[in-house]
């Protein structure tokens, strides 16, 4: 199976290491390659957080520049490249919504599942191993998904999410943990 058909999180370590090496060697073509492979996933996460296509594009640009400049500090023994870059993107996006005090106004509104928010563009090509939203929706119960959404796209801590959802902290932790384990099994 070609590397590009694999989920990003299960890219073979060797392929990841090669790309990391080239990025560290300041090879600009490697950035283009990185963009073509990762930008869709990064953009999706960013857009889901900032909920504005223009702003999402700005944050994506910021994230890519940051990734480029921070490549030296990436340590593959501590996690996958995808985990690292998606965290950079996600944190920049969360900073963005915090800086515009997004949550002051829309905190209780939560994450919408309006058609616009759910409108996920189709992948560029058919990728049989790729896990889609539909599969996620069918595998997670709504309560689990709600918790993960708040934690991941809302930038809530587990305690904040417990407060927001009016649930005991233990329940939030259990739901998050169960949900993540279910998700991890989707690509086994």
């Amino acid at each position: 199976m070609p590397v590009s058909d694999l989920p990003l999180i299960s890219t073979p370590p060797a392929a990841e290491a090669a790309l990391v090496e080239r990025l560290r060697a300041r090879e600009q073509a490697a950035m283009t390659e990185f963009y073509d492979r990762y930008s869709g996933a990064l953009y999706g996460v960013i857009n889901r957080i900032v909920k504005d296509e223009e702003e999402a594009a700005d944050v994506l640009q910021e994230a890519l520049v940051k990734i480029w400049h921070s490549m030296a500090s990436y340590d593959n023994s501590k996690g996958r490249l995808f985990t690292w870059v998606v965290n950079i993107s996600r944190n920049l996006a969360i900073d963005k919504i915090r800086s515009r005090q997004h949550r002051v106004g829309s905190r209780t509104q939560g994450l919408d599942d309006s058609p616009a928010a759910m409108r996920q563009a189709a992948p560029d090509a058919f990728r049989p191993e790729h896990v889609g939203l539909q599969e996620i929706t069918s595998k997670l119960v709504p309560e689990q998904r709600q918790v993960i959404d708040l934690l991941y796209f809302g930038g809530f801590t587990q305690s904040e999410a417990a407060e927001e959802l009016n649930l005991p902290l233990g329940t939030v932790k259990t739901r998050a943990r169960t949900a993540l384990k279910i998700l991890a099994k989707l690509i086994r």
């Binding site: 400049h69 500090s73 801590t157 998700l183």
Partner: protein, 294 residues
Amino acid sequence: MKDFQEYIESGRLEQYALGELDPAARAEVEDWAARYPEVRQELDELLVGLGVYAEAHAQVVPAGLRERVLGRVLAEIGGAAPAAAAPTAPVAPAAAPTMRVSASNPRPAEAYAAPPAAQRSGWAIAASVALLLSLAANALLYSRWQQTSTELVAAQNSQARFAQTSQVMERRLSSTQEQLHVLRSPQEYKMVALAGTPAHPTAKARVLYNVAAHRVYVDVQQLPALPAGKQYQLWALDKGKPVDAGVLAANTAAGDSIQQMKDIASAQAFAMTVEPAGGSVGPTLNTMTVIGNM
């Protein structure tokens, strides 16, 4: 053995995966993961789960954005990282040696290795170059900004001029419409031709008189030029007595437009005399220029 099981259950690993922990707590998690494969495996599983979740939300970057975003990124990294610095050493970033993203939302990457001190002086140079470039860019942007605000002021001035012009045009239009109405209503307005007196045979004007509404307009075809400080004054003659009908504005006397005069209740004839500017109480008869009967 029980230790790590408890640690796994504690929720720390989820917090780590979600980026909720401060650097010290992250180091602790990494330490546990290094010591216990079970913890490592559990942590990896959580990270994979989040990765799957993230990627499930992947969106194709809208058309046109690829060129824009990638173009800017390449321009930025091309400009900020001197190519010569790259080939030998794996490079530490000039602008962001560590990866602090946000104090409120620290993440695992922050604890990753810091650049060796030996590489720093080279990067100090690179940073200086970047600073100079940035200063130049700032100067350029500043001058563009200034130019833009000058252009804005100019645009606002010209907009104000247009607004003024259009007000003037509107006034002219309404007065023209009014004049047109007067001229096109022969049944309402009686036309009185005023012919030149023997002293001014070429002088010619007319009065449009609405008897019912008492309204008087004057329309000049030709009048002799006036000496300085003088104005033409229109008189209505009612049963032989002159009644002041007002003085003619300069453009009226020049024949550029018709002018509404004072209302006149009744008249059998009209005449014009030359009077000191502002008009007189009674006509100076020897300056009479035109006269006409109804």
